[in-house]
């Protein structure tokens, strides 16, 4: 069994604390390039900024397997300098604006500290407090001598923390997938040709994966992502049937997520591997919320795909929560999958 030790935690901490808003993924790209170069046979940065890595199979020509994890995170773009250190901004990716007021942020390449303030409660009445604050009325405040410019990216300032069985951080979605891909590369070679796409712009329409999938032309692909766990109490104690996934039950394997139906052979293969190696796994409840698999499935003449995610609570918020054991079990399930995969897996439809 591969384990999650101090080097893996340190790498994930570095990845999570970096700023990598969709369209400006340079910080994470630099970390990824440093990590993969000593282990890869081929590394390139493509036209959109994704890092594409190839590791040849141990033996002779075998099937080509693509693993994808996205480097980008949801965040903000400064759109207007209002003067006196106040900046108008827009969200990039799906952020619930109810998570924004009263938060610390970092802005630009130098991570300038700022805050998204809120009107003091003393100056509001109950009517006003019953309405959410709209994004366009908020400002990022960098202090009176703030120096940012329109086009700068920003993100939540929360720092990675290890707490008991959990990690708590911004951007677990999908730095945990990035960390898993890096670790798998370090375990290579396998009997397959391993292709890794550290893709960009997932949060704004799976754009990096679309062209990375085309580039590699794989025989099959697995998106390694992080999916919401809504295993939270119902307000009146009723059973929560719509949890999507639960923390602590292992990697979430996707039967389907709209509009992508996973390849049934891959779905069966992964479940059998879990049972055989006693690696806990769970099936993600079918429903909305996409991964890069949706883009890769439809490149060229089509690719069999599936997604596997490490569950996290509180998606796209300043602090998400994941379990270290789910991370470890996801890593191990993928590791044995790469070890035991053969071309026969996708030869027949029996």
């Amino acid at each position: 069994m591969l384990t999650i030790g101090s080097p893996q935690l340190k790498l994930l901490e570095k990845l999570c604390n970096a700023m990598s808003v969709s369209g400006d993924e340079g910080e994470v790209r630099r970390i990824v390039l440093d990590e993969v170069k000593p282990y890869a046979d081929e590394v390139k940065v493509d036209a959109l900024g994704s890092v594409l890595v190839r590791k040849q199979a141990k033996g002779k020509k075998s099937m080509r397997v693509l693993l994808d994890a996205h480097m980008d995170e949801v965040g903000f773009m400064i759109v207007k300098d209002d003067g006196n250190g106040f900046y108008e901004f827009r969200t990039v990716g799906g952020i619930d604006e109810r998570h924004l007021v009263g938060k610390q942020v970092i802005v630009g390449k130098d991570h300038m500290p700022g805050v998204i303030g809120a009107k003091p409660i003393h100056l509001t009445d109950a009517g006003e407090r019953s309405h959410t604050v709209s994004e366009d009325s908020m400002r990022i405040d960098l202090g009176p001598e703030g120096k940012a410019k329109a086009g700068d990216r920003a993100t939540f300032a929360t720092k990675f923390k290890r707490v008991g069985p959990s990690i708590m951080s911004k951007s677990i979605d999908d730095r945990i997938g990035v960390a898993i891909l890096i670790e798998l590369l370090k375990q290579a070679p396998y009997d397959i040709e391993l292709c890794l796409a550290f893709s960009v712009q997932e949060e704004i329409g799976l754009r990096g994966a679309t062209v990375a999938g085309y580039h590699f032309d794989p025989d099959l692909a697995i998106a390694v992502d992080s999916t919401p766990a809504r295993d939270l109490p119902h307000y009146d104690g009723a059973e929560n049937y719509t949890y999507n996934t639960k923390l602590g039950l292992g990697p979430a394997i996707y039967p389907a997520h709209s509009p992508v139906i996973s390849d049934p052979r891959l779905l069966k293969f992964l479940q059998e591997l879990g049972a055989k190696h006693k690696i806990p796994y769970q099936l993600r409840q079918p429903g909305g919320g996409g991964t890069d698999a949706g883009a890769i499935q439809q490149v060229r003449s089509g690719v069999p795909v599936i997604s596997i995610s490490v569950p996290h609570r509180y998606t796209h918020s300043p602090i998400s929560v994941s379990r270290v054991d789910d991370w470890k079990n996801t890593l191990n399930l993928l590791h044995v999958a790469l070890q035991e995969m053969t071309p026969s897996l996708i030869k027949s439809r029996a």
Binding site: Q104, L142, F156
Partner: protein, 355 residues
Amino acid sequence: MSDILPFLKSLISVAGLSGDETPAADLIKKQWTPLVDEISQSALASVHGLKRGALKKSLRPSVMIATHMDAIGMMVVRIVDGFIYITNVGGIDARVLPGTPVTVHASGTKEELYGVIAMPPANLLPDGEGSGVVAMKYLFVDTGLTPGEVSKRVRVGDRVSFGTEPIEMSGGTISGHTLDNRASVAALTICLEELQSKSHAWDVLATATVQEETSFGGAYTSGFQLRPTIAVVVDMTFGTGAGASGYQTFPLGKGVTLGIGPSIHPFLYKRFKEVAERVEIPVSDDLMPEYSSTDADALQLIAEGIPTMVVSIPQRYMHTAVELVAMKDIHRAGRLLAEFVASLEADFMERITWD
């Protein structure tokens, strides 16, 4: 200029919610002990520092400078499957809470647990309550621990404080939680430092009060115990910023404010104004038509009544985890207080008039 920043940062790195101010009180006592002649705590835990004046004891009036040291925050009301439901201690707008880092002060094991305030999705809330503002009673804290680990540690009634760390921002500003009112405690500390080399006739009663955010309980009781001749309250006022404008707001870094209204004795206002002009500290008038919403509202009513004054430091985003204050204004408040104290003559109370 004294370097008050490290002390202020330490003050806003601890909790000290209303009714449980010990972590703040301990830091304040340590900082004030070398600056005052006597230091003690009241029955409700307000910190009382006495710096004696130069006049003969029998003739010596006293000026209380009151800064509340308690913090707003939250308290545990119930625990369900390891999720910790909360209620507010002091005034909190539920809209600022989702996604905020907090510290749970676990009484079961005397640990400080990191946590985040979570907003449940719409399908776990009553119909119609999921898409807009989610009420505080539906929010809960997730500590990342398992239900078993939480139940061993956390009890109903435990405090939950904001977990944001202090951060220095541009233009000499600082952001964090509980700058309301620890920034004023820092200003009073600067005042005490300045008074080390200034002669003053009156006794100075440096006071860090408890429970301002919930009941003015510290001001009522410390005011009664100390019976100052006059009282000056130092607190926060509203900083101009996103969403906040109008006569109640003041620009950050442009000076402190002097209260005008029923809680304020006009003669004290006048003296502050004269002193500020003499030592060139910029001040603005802070209009308080009915209440000051500070400890002054309590102090003026003690016993036969106490002439009171309110001096305020502008602050953006009051009662959030990202309050913002200019260090310059804290220094100005501290210096102004010291100059005011030094200006108090032996016969000041004979001159104090209403007209």
